[in-house]
């Protein structure tokens, strides 16, 4: 099933245009939505998840008109917000049973079965009797995935799920997500380029409420093949190089020298070495191109 968003616009009361005439088509599989903080990722995802209504535009998922028939979408939707809380003093098992009822599972046996399953998938079965409010960050995120799975969703929206997770948790989380994503549409927002690279078969870069680039991770890196150059420079030279070249990123080395990455079709100067293009570079190129030109 395809998610089709066309001409979506949302302006907040304070004048911020969170979504700016945005159109995109998203098919089955993992879709990574990459963008800096405040790019409009959450606004877009909340809008798709029926939590807020846009000023204009349409969203369809398969044959569901999301904005007009939000209940139909909710039946096939799994949503994990950026941050969420739970009712205190309730165990994971009880809470999941509650969510299962919310999602329309009528039979008690069914609920028990599926709750047990999602607990096992998310490796929470052992702590199912514990209060969710006392879970660690990673466990709570897994609980979020568990509740999301209860209605066997066709459209899954996860908003910055890996922020703040330790590497092991992150891996585990992404694996589960990947598993789920084989048969459904998973939209997954992040500002961590790594996440997208590892998982997504499609991606988009979002900033200022607009899609700057819609591509696949592979294609994206292919596109910049041979155009990324790197050089080790002294700290004091940075400003000069930034002026002269299209610098994408600069990182310190241990000896206080800097590694700069420059985007250029030709070798910019002596000392620059051609290097493999990375998704990060794509990301930075996209953001840079969107910057308003100061005359």
């Amino acid at each position: 099933m395809k998610l089709i968003i066309s001409n979506l616009t949302k302006t907040y009361k304070n004048g911020v245009k969170a979504i700016d005439n945005l159109s995109i088509e998203i098919g089955t599989g993992m879709f990574g939505l990459l963008g800096p903080n405040g790019a409009g990722k959450s606004s877009l995802m909340r809008t798709i998840a029926t939590l807020q209504s846009p000023d204009s535009g349409t969203i369809t998922f398969g044959d569901i008109n999301v904005l007009e028939d939000n209940m139909s979408l909710r039946k096939v939707l799994g949503y994990l917000p950026q941050s969420f809380g739970v009712y205190p003093k309730m165990s994971a098992e009880d809470l999941l049973d509650y969510f299962a009822t919310l999602k329309g599972i009528s039979s008690k046996a069914d609920r028990q079965k599926i709750v047990k399953e999602v607990l096992e998938i998310t490796n929470l079965y052992e702590v199912r009797k514990k209060k969710v409010a006392g879970y660690s960050g990673g466990m709570k995120q897994r609980f979020g995935i568990a509740q999301l799975l209860l209605n066997n969703p066709k459209l899954i929206i996860v908003d910055e799920p890996t922020a703040g997770l330790d590497p092991a948790e992150r891996h585990r989380f992404l694996n589960v997500l990947r598993e789920v994503g084989t048969n459904s549409t998973v939209i997954f927002s992040t500002h961590i380029v790594e996440d997208v690279k590892e998982l997504c078969n499609e991606m988009a870069i979002l900033n200022g409420g607009r899609i700057l680039k819609h591509t696949t991770p592979l294609e994206a890196t292919k596109e910049i093949e041979g155009q990324i150059w790197t050089k080790i420079i002294e700290r004091d030279d940075l400003e000069g190089i930034e002026k002269a070249y299209n610098v994408l990123s600069s990182n310190y080395n241990q000896d206080n020298t800097l590694n700069v990455r420059v985007f250029a079709t030709e070798k910019p100067a002596d000392g620059f070495v051609q290097t493999m293009g990375q998704l990060d570079d794509v990301y930075f190129i996209a953001l840079k191109q969107d910057e308003p030109v100061v005359a």
Binding site: Y12, K13, R46, A49, T50, L51, Q52, S53, M71, S72, R74, K75, L77, Y79, P81, S83, F84, G85, V86, Y87, P88, K89, Y98, F99, T101, L102, K103, G104, I105, S106, S107, D110, R111, K113, I114, E117, V118, E120, I121, N123, G138, G144, Q147, L149, N151, N152, A168, E169, H171, R172, N175, V176, E179, V180
Partner: protein, 1217 residues
């Protein structure tokens, strides 16, 4: 750093719209209430009286302080949040690492919040100032602006209260990091305050009450309790010892609380927790490395059907229900409410220290009265907590994206609330049963409990729950929502003052129901339920609207919510809204139709205007002579099942005057009636509004001639909404004044002179002075009759007994109805009643007088006491005054729904079930007054003092009946129970007299010139006659009364007056005591006696010398309550000792005052007071010292130790040694 934080906080509040909302709410409230009290709404509602200055220092402080009390409910979200906000926004993690001191942080936070509260409170004062002076208010009752009234209230009462409650809430919220904890603290404190106020209301506890009342109100009323109207209007707030101590005490408490906050507050990241289990420390290891699981979710069925949604509603309501009942705000309110309910129960119906038996209706009322506020508060609060529960827990985004319809969520919240209310009602039931068991009362009526609580009461709370859900859905903050609900629920009944009088316009208002053991809930339940169904529909309309506004997802403005609501307004919402609204309006209209069209509705404004028109139109006939009724023969048919009556009757009337009468003024009621005279008459004026018809006699009625009137009367058909007859299914009690016609202008004029002036009426003098010899033509009972012959036939259903005054001549059954024919053998006043009920009868005799009590089966508890009361009163009256005129005396029980009194008709005394039948009398020394006995004695005494001696319709007439009956009752009580039990009765009478006179709105006259006020003729009358019998001697007083009664009993006009009686008493009073007559009867004289110093020294002969220093002073009040001290001219005496700021002033003294010395003796482990010395001393100056030698070691000394005199401070008359 202090100023930085402080400024930042103030800025935060200035930018916060909540502050302005609070200010708007409070100023609006203050404006409305002050405008109402100043008569702003007089143009649509009844006029506000003129005697009370609404902005007197007391008025200002009362209203100002009262309104401020509401703001305490907002403290949790203003003062409580000042630190909590930093936690909530998790600013504290950063903030607490900054370099400021604890003191800076805490003081800045606390003081800035307090400042905001002070500003909000200040707007109350400003709004009051404006409200009193709005155009259209009655400036007669608004005094000149006095800034001190506001300042005193603000500085002395309000600011300390804000500090105290602010500190408490600040402490609680800071440590628990839980706003609801702060809220509960406020609620609990208020409950406790109410509780202590109730417990400490007895006179001897008032000192303590004045100290411990955290609101300071008890310390004000400690001084102002007995202030007369004039004093209330003029005197400044008494900023004296008690108030100052109280304020100091509570400011200290506030400081201590704040100091504790300072001490224990630390810039730590975790809230203080009170856990009794020590957490086990455990090292946790994570073993949570990657791993890939295959996800293959089992197929389950998803069901989105209506039925499944209903099931889900139920399941969700259980989850919310559990959350509520396990939360500690709930538990603490229940606990406190329960304690208060139980304590409230033990005081239920306490009369003269004697409680009533814990019968079920009384127990339910007692428990639910105090508990229902708790139920409402919990409902209002949790309506908000549940609606915003997901948002508060931040789970809302997870829930909102599930395919659950809004109505399931909303109705699950409703259902959860209702389940909680059911639990709370069960709490009432359980506490009631526990209370009954503890009192040894085992007649459990579980069905009655369930019906009353789960049918009648429950629906009332459901209706509030519906509105609470609506308000809380619209308002994002549960505490603000709660506050608004409190204002609505408390303010709703007061809308009448603004001219909204009919209940169909006031949410959840309507007639209430009342239960009696005799006729159950009667018809009141049907009417009650109709109104409740009406409001239930109204509440459901609100619920549907709440559904439209239900927050799903993230609407960003109210405008957006409005759009969403419009979008949702279709399908089932639209249909149910329309159906509910139509039924609501339809039912409302039928009620309106019944009350306004079928039966004309008279608003209080209209009835005031009608009173005026009535007086203007007919007062001119007041003194036109009319024939007088000399004989009455009536047939009354009572239909208890149908609640109907029909009656017919014949009056024989005689022209007793010396002039011919040509017009008859027939004054009747609105029952369908027919009238026929046996002489030719012409109806020249018929008034269907006032039912005052004028008949012209063709042939004038010559002096001595008679005329007969035959009339029939019946009630209109009863409807479910309105009962048109006084008949009850059991225990009917109706008198001739409500049923039958009378003759002449019947009074009923507006009393307030200012209101009269407004309508162009002359000042009224209420009643003529007894010295006005032209005014003695009528008794105060009837204007159209003197003494009559009486005969009646009363019929009722076969299972009931019908009673009327007179002796039963014949009793028969015809067509399934029982008939009783009564005939009186002697002349009686034109004042009689009819009773009918399923009675048991207890019989006895006293000499040859037959005594009967007609009572409800099950109410046997006090029959013996009532019999004894009859006998004692018959004996005392006939021995001391004159023989009993009847051969029979009957007491007839009637339901409490008809009132809680007893009333004496000729040989017949209807007696409310709650006036003694269920009294739980304790005969021990500590027990209260046996009022079953005392009330009976009083009513029987009326057979003399009303039915033999009846005063003319002038001032002071009720002294001859009520005060004398009360005197007899006291005397027989004294004979039976001894002097010591009298003190309780007298103290109670004194307190009631002094308290109730402060509510006098017209004028208070001396006893012998009283206007008929209960507090004068009962309470003051009983005190005075009891004291008089002490001064003159009982025998001497009674002999004077005997002589008086012999002179005036059964007299025809001109009738006797209080002057006549007082003259008889004066005659036997020695010269030295003549001042007593003046003090007691002719003036309002109040004493202020107290012991100053007492010393006891043991003498060589084993005796004790007691040195007593005491003050005696007295003052007089004029009829408005202004004090004066002179007998004539400027002869008042003064006394001023060294340290006194102001001298004591007194009316010149030559008074005889009891000086008593007491000791204690132990008999059988019980301490008993023994009189060592009691003698009247002649006192001529204010400050006195005397020495008295007594035989035993004294323990207590007193001046007027038995409180026989009217003393405005009776608790300092004794001093323990």
């Amino acid at each position: 750093m202090f100023s930085t934080i402080f400024k930042y906080e103030i800025k935060y509040w200035i930018k916060n719209p909540a502050v302005y909302i609070y200010m708007a709410i409070f100023s609006l409230l203050a404006l409305t209430i002050s405008a109402i009290s100043a008569g702003f709404f007089d143009f649509i509602t009844a006029s506000t009286g003129s005697s009370i200055i609404v902005n007197s220092p007391m008025g200002v402080s009362g209203l100002f302080n009262g309104l401020t009390t509401f703001i305490f409910f907002l403290f949790p979200s203003i003062i409580g949040t000042s630190i909590y906000r930093d936690y909530k926004s998790e600013m504290h993690t950063i903030l607490y690492s900054y370099p400021f001191t604890k003191a800076n942080y805490l003081f800045a936070k606390f003081l800035s919040a307090i400042c905001i509260v002070l500003v909000i409170t200040l707007t109350i004062g400003v709004a009051m100032f404006i409200g009193f002076r709005l155009p259209g208010t009655n400036q007669e009752i608004v005094g000149a602006f006095n800034i001190m009234s506001y300042l005193n209230a603000y500085v002395v009462i309000i600011i300390p209260n804000i500090f105290l409650f602010g500190a408490l809430v600040f402490a609680v919220v800071t440590f628990t990091r839980n706003i609801s904890a702060g809220f509960i603290t406020v609620v609990v404190l208020m409950f406790i305050q109410g509780l202590t106020a109730g417990l400490l209301s007895e006179e001897e506890h008032r000192f303590i009450a004045a100290l411990v009342d955290p609101f300071g109100e008890a310390s004000i009323s400690f001084y102002t309790r007995y202030w007369t109207v004039a004093e209330q209007n003029e005197l400044a707030l008494p900023i004296k010892e008690m108030l100052i101590y109280n304020r100091l005490l509570w400011m200290t408490v506030a400081s201590v609380v704040f100091a504790l906050v300072y001490k224990y507050f630390s810039f730590s990241q975790n809230a203080l927790s009170f856990s009794f289990r020590k957490p086990k420390a455990e090292r946790t290891i994570k073993s949570n490395f990657g791993g890939v699981t295959r996800i293959n979710l089992t197929k389950v069925t998803y069901d989105f059907s209506f039925l499944q949604n209903l099931k889900a509603t139920w399941r969700f309501s259980n989850i919310d229900f559990k959350y509520m009942v396990k939360s500690w705000p709930f538990l603490s309110i229940v606990l406190v409410g329960l304690i208060i309910a139980l304590i409230g129960l033990s005081n239920v119906g306490n009369l003269f220290g004697t409680p009533t038996l814990p019968v079920t209706w009384k127990t339910i009322r007692g428990a639910s009265n105090s508990f229902s506020l708790a139920i409402n508060i919990i409902t209002f609060l949790y309506a908000g907590m549940l609606i915003h529960r997901a948002k508060i827990a931040k789970t809302n985004h997870l829930i909102d994206v599930t395919p659950i319809p809004n109505w399931v969520l909303l109705s699950s919240k409703l259902l959860a609330l209702l389940k909680m209310q059911m639990v709370l009602l069960a709490v009432i039931m359980v506490s009631g049963l526990i209370f009954q068991i503890s009192k040894g009362y085992y007649d459990f009526e579980i069905g009655h409990y369930i019906y009353d609580l789960y049918v009648l009461n429950f629906i009332h709370f459901i209706i509030w729950a519906l509105l609470a859900l609506f308000i809380q859905t619209l308002i994002g903050n549960p505490y603000l929502g709660l506050f608004i609900m409190l204002v609505i629920s408390i303010g709703m009944p007061f809308l009448s003052l603004a001219g909204v009088e009919q209940s169909i316009f006031k949410y959840n208002q309507g007639p209430s129901f009342k239960y009696s053991d005799m006729n159950g809930y009667g018809l009141s339940v049907a009417t009650y339920l109709i109104y409740k169904v009406y409001w239930l529909l109204g509440g459901l309309v609100a619920l549907v609207v709440a559904g439209l506004f239900w927050v799903r997802g993230l609407p960003h403005s109210f405008k957006e919510r409005l759009q969403i609501a419009k979008f949702r307004f279709k399908g089932a919402s639209l249909i149910s809204f329309v159906i509910l609204l139509i039924s609501f309006i339809g039912l409302g209209y039928s009620i309106y139709h019944e009350n306004n069209v079928i039966n004309p509705y008279t608003s209080s404004k209209e009835s005031e205007e009608q009173q005026v028109a009535w007086e203007k139109k007919y007062k001119k006939y007041e003194n036109t002579v009319q024939p007088r009724i000399v004989s009455v023969n009536v047939n009354v048919n009572i239909f208890p099942k149908e609640l109907n009556f029909t009656a017919s009757g014949d009056y024989v009337m005689v022209n007793k005057t010396s002039q011919a009468i040509d017009s008859l003024f027939l004054n009747h009621n609105s029952y369908p009636s027919t009238f026929k005279f046996n002489r030719e008459t012409k109806l020249v004026s018929e008034d269907t509004l006032y039912n005052f018809d004028i008949y012209k006699l063709k042939q004038p009625l010559q002096p001595g001639d008679s005329i007969q009137l035959h009339f029939t009367v019946k009630n209109k058909e009863n409807t479910l909404l309105r009962k048109h007859s006084p008949v009850r299914s059991n225990g009917t009690f109706m008198n001739n004044m409500e049923l039958f016609p009378s003759f002449g202008y019947s009074g009923g004029e507006l009393k307030d002179d200012k209101v009269r002036e407004k309508y162009g009426l002359a000042k009224n003098k209420l009643r003529p002075h007894p010295s006005d010899s032209t005014a003695l033509g009528n008794t105060y009972i009837a204007k159209d009759a003197d003494w009559i012959d009486f005969e009646a036939t009363v019929s009722t259903s076969e299972d009931q007994i019908a009673i009327a005054p007179g002796y039963l001549q014949k009793e028969w059954v015809k067509d399934g109805r029982k008939y009783f024919h009564y005939k009186m053998d002697s002349k009686i006043l034109n004042f009689y009643a009819f009773n009918s009920g399923k009675y048991e009868v207890k019989r006895d005799t006293w000499n040859d007088v037959k005594l009967e009590i007609y009572y409800q089966k099950g109410h046997e508890y006090n029959l013996e006491r009532m019999m004894n009361g009859m006998k004692a009163s018959l004996a005392y009256n006939s021995e001391n005054f004159s023989p009993y005129q009847h051969k029979q005396a009957r007491i007839i029980e009637f339901p409490r729904t008809g009132g809680g009194y007893a009333q004496s008709f000729p040989n017949t005394i209807p007696f409310s079930e709650s006036a003694g039948f269920i009294a739980d009398v304790d005969d021990s020394e500590e027990g209260g007054v046996d009022y079953a006995f005392a009330v009976t004695a009083h009513e029987v005494a009326h057979q003399w003092w009303a039915h033999q001696v009846i005063g003319a319709d002038v001032l002071g007439a009720t002294m001859l009946s009520e005060s004398l009956s009360e005197y007899v009752s006291l005397k027989v009580l004294e004979v039976k129970y001894g002097k010591s039990k009298m003190r309780g009765f007298l103290k109670d009478a004194l307190d009631k007299y002094l308290t109730r006179r402060t509510f006098e709105r017209k004028r208070e006259k001396a006893l012998m010139y009283n206007d008929g006020q209960g507090y004068i003729h009962y309470q003051k009358g009983s005190l005075i006659f009891y004291a008089l019998s002490d001064y003159l001697g009982e025998k001497k007083l009674n002999n004077a009364l005997k002589k008086y009664i012999e002179k005036v009993k059964f007299q025809e006009a001109p009738y006797t007056t209080s002057i006549d009686m007082v003259n008889h008493i004066r005659e036997v009073t020695p010269d030295s005591l003549q001042y007593v007559i003046k003090d007691m009867f002719e003036t309002i004289t109040l004493y202020r006696n107290r012991i100053i110093e007492v010393k006891s020294t043991k003498l060589e002969n084993g005796k004790y010398k007691v040195d007593i220093e005491f003050n005696v002073s007295k003052y007089r009040n004029d009829e408005k309550g202004k004090r004066f001290y002179a007998e004539k001219g400027e002869d008042s005496i003064t006394y001023k000792a060294g340290k006194m700021k102001k001298p004591i002033i007194s009316v010149p003294l030559a008074d005889y005052i009891d000086i008593g010395i007491f000791t204690e003796e132990e008999t059988d482990g019980k301490k008993k007071e023994i009189e060592l010395y009691l003698k009247k001393h002649k006192i001529t100056k204010i400050n006195n010292t005397i020495s008295i030698i007594v035989d035993k070691k004294p323990t207590e000394v007193g001046v007027d130790p038995y409180n026989k005199l009217i003393d405005t401070k009776s608790d300092d008359n004794r001093r323990k040694l």
